[in-house]
């Protein structure tokens, strides 16, 4: 059983209900990932899939401040972002199975999740690709709906793309309500930070250059994420412009796929277990119990609810039909609206 190194940071104006809801949400994200992983070797989900196990706190802590009306964008590792924002689980699993009932009608797969009703607008795997799109969406909408904000998630690797700076520059020029959320998990595939970014680099240093308020923080502590999320979202909603948040976190599984990858040796076993000992869910669990909010019974209840939902969703997804091959070309050009 790994050691818990850090407990949660002090709880501010966060209600007990919200804390429990976030714990539930993190657990749900984790269990869904585990559910996919358990079935992945059946080779029925035939698309590259990037798991977010270990990184659940960031999307959950941020989404707590968002409404379905707000825009969220993501990249290749989008599962947590999608679910935490309220993306439909069945539609997601159907998408992974390549089914017509998938959220992108099977055309996109794991890397193109979308749920417009939940305000999960788009995800796409080209690094930094959705950053300027997130900026443009809210630039458009802010002309008439100043209260809507836009959140875009991306990894540390994506910040090496020029488009990241181009997006930040324009967000700053127009002082837009955007929250840029970087999940810095230290690696881009198997490449260490040091071969990609200068010594002493914190991603949070890149924002102020563009006049953007920025902060770096523990991304495995749900309360920290919630606190910074609150500040950034409030700043955006009150017209005070964009924020860049860097959350330090860690991917437990291989870059793409459901397996452990310690055998590849690009990171040490020690590093992996040190980070596993900072599991965001365990830390939340400990803190909630400390504050008398979580009991074994409640947790059992959570787990049962989640597992029922997941089982039903997988059954549904497996049972649904594939797209009709005759529809191959259908969405190349849109029909007249």
């Amino acid at each position: 059983m790994p050691q818990i190194e850090n407990l949660s940071s002090p709880v501010t104006n966060l209600s007990a209900d919200d804390r429990l809801a976030m714990h539930f949400s993190m657990l749900r994200v984790r269990r869904v990932e585990e559910g996919i992983a358990a079935r992945y070797s059946e080779q029925e989900m035939r698309c590259p899939t990037h798991f977010c196990v270990g990184q659940e706190a960031v999307p959950v802590g941020i989404s707590a401040h968002l409404t379905p009306y707000d825009y969220v964008f993501s990249g290749h590792r989008s599962h947590g972002h999608y679910l935490a924002k309220g993306g439909d689980l069945k539609a997601k699993l159907c998408e992974l199975y390549g089914k017509e009932a998938g959220c992108a009608r099977g055309r996109g797969g794991s890397q193109h999740l979308i749920d417009l009703e939940a305000g999960f607008v788009a995800s796409a795997p080209i690094l930094a690709g959705t950053l300027p799109i997130a900026v443009g969406a809210v630039y458009g909408s802010s002309k008439t709906n100043p209260e809507r904000i836009s959140v875009v998630y991306f990894g540390d690797g994506a910040t090496e793309e020029g488009a990241f700076h181009e997006a930040m520059n324009f967000a700053a020029v127009k002082n837009l309500p955007v929250v840029f959320v970087c999940e810095n998990n230290l690696y881009s595939v198997h490449s260490d930070f040091s071969v990609r970014q200068p010594p002493g680099r914190s991603i949070a240093k890149l924002g102020p250059a563009h006049g953007i308020k920025s902060q770096t923080a523990d991304g495995n502590d749900i309360v920290t994420v919630w606190n910074l999320g609150q500040e950034a979202v409030l700043r955006a909603r009150s017209g005070d412009g964009p924020t860049l948040l860097e959350f330090m976190t860690y991917r437990w599984l291989e870059h793409c796929g459901p397996n452990d990858d310690a055998a590849l040796k690009y990171r040490t076993k020690e590093e992996i277990s040190a980070w596993q000992s900072k599991c965001p869910i365990v830390r939340s669990d400990v803190a909630l119990r400390r504050d008398g909010l979580l009991t074994n019974d409640l947790l059992k209840d959570f787990e049962r609810k989640i597992s029922e939902e997941i089982e039903t969703a997988f059954e549904y997804a497996k049972s649904m039909p594939f797209p009709d091959p005759a529809d191959l070309m259908t969405f190349t050009l849109p029909e007249k609206a």
Partner: protein, 352 residues
């Protein structure tokens, strides 16, 4: 009917689109600026404000993403690149996101955008400022790609493009801007995806894009002096491509020249030739020819550019070779007044 210049027709199309639909906006480097993208955007910022006629940072990639993002909020952006060469910086956003936006989310998203790409030739624009990359966009499923030649089409096709829910890439040749055509004042649409027969003939088909269609008309004039009747087709739309009109013409004439503003090799004329012969290669009585840029970068020196950019003589020579008569029988090329052919042909005044 009223005659105006091509650049005025483009300007009017945008004016009327901005006026008719509050979700339309224009953006690009210098779009609201004092020279107004060769006059095509002049005055629009005064009428519609800098929220709808916007300048932007020189971040072609990022700003393409921003424009795509704006479609999510219901806008229909027209992004303008002074030279298509600058759009190479935005290829990821254009090709990986914009073109696939509708498809990859299973029809849930749309990208009703227009990209006005300016191409050109001559006057030392040189290697990085005079490419003509329509073949690239035509190769990527998800775009419509059009090349209006006349002022009439410049207006009508641009209005259609702006109304279209697909991303439409419009190629405008700088040398067309000063040329006149009959253009109705009221807004109108020209259907995308149809070629236009500019001149009928029975002896040879010359299918051409953009400025090369005018060169083809001139070549047809020259051929007519020898009694040869060339049919000139303005291709107008590459995606969708109106194979039918071209095929029907070649079936009649049995001979085909395709003339394009871009590099010939792996260019759009190859697709046109292939579409014809794939359908029925027996209709070609003679081997077809393609006219376009030779396979080298665009040179700056006028002495080299002279032979780099094809002109009407190149088309009529090709016709001579196909039809089997001496090139020398063709009328001599007219004097341009200058030493080089690196400014627009003064005889192309229109109306077309």
């Amino acid at each position: 009917m009223r005659q105006i210049k091509y650049f005025e027709a483009v300007n009017e199309a945008q004016y009327q689109s901005l006026e008719g639909d509050p979700s339309v906006l224009l953006m690009g480097l210098g779009v609201p600026g004092p020279t107004g993208i060769f006059g095509t955007t002049s005055g629009l910022v005064d009428k519609f404000g800098d929220n709808r006629v916007l300048d932007m940072p020189s971040s072609e990639q990022g700003m393409t993403g921003v424009a795509l993002g704006m479609t999510i909020a219901g806008y229909r952006p027209v992004m303008i690149h002074m030279r298509v060469d600058f759009a190479t910086l935005a290829m990821d956003q254009m090709v990986n996101q914009v073109a696939k936006w509708h498809f990859m989310y299973g029809g849930k998203m749309r990208a009703p955008m227009v990209f006005r790409m300016i191409i050109g030739r001559g006057w030392g624009q040189g290697p990085q400022h005079s490419q003509s990359l329509q073949a690239w966009f035509s190769h990527i499923p998800g775009f419509k790609v059009i090349m209006p030649t006349t002022a009439y089409d410049a207006k009508g096709m641009l209005i259609s493009a702006i109304k279209d829910d697909a991303p439409v890439v419009v190629f405008e040749h700088r040398w067309l801007y000063g040329i006149t055509g009959e253009v109705p004042e009221a807004p109108y649409e020209v259907e995308l995806g149809k070629a236009a027969v500019m001149r009928e003939g029975k002896d040879i088909t010359i299918a051409a894009t953009s400025y090369m269609a005018l060169e083809a008309l001139k070549a047809a004039d020259d051929l007519a002096t020898l009694g040869i009747q060339a049919e000139v087709i303005d291709i107008r739309s590459l995606v969708p491509l109106d194979t039918e009109t071209i095929f029907r013409s070649v079936k009649k004439t049995g001979a085909l020249i395709v003339a394009d503003t871009g590099t010939t090799d792996f260019g759009v004329s190859a697709e046109i030739v292939s579409k014809v012969v794939e359908r029925d290669c027996s209709i070609l009585k003679k081997s077809p020819k393609r006219i376009g840029l030779p396979f080298c970068p665009s040179p700056t020196s006028p002495a080299l550019a002279e032979d780099f950019f094809p002109r009407s003589v190149d088309i009529s020579y090709a016709a001579a070779d196909i039809l089997g008569f001496e090139r020398s029988r063709l009328p001599p090329e007219a004097e341009t007044g200058g030493r080089w052919h690196d400014t627009p042909d003064p005889s192309f005044t229109g109306p077309y």
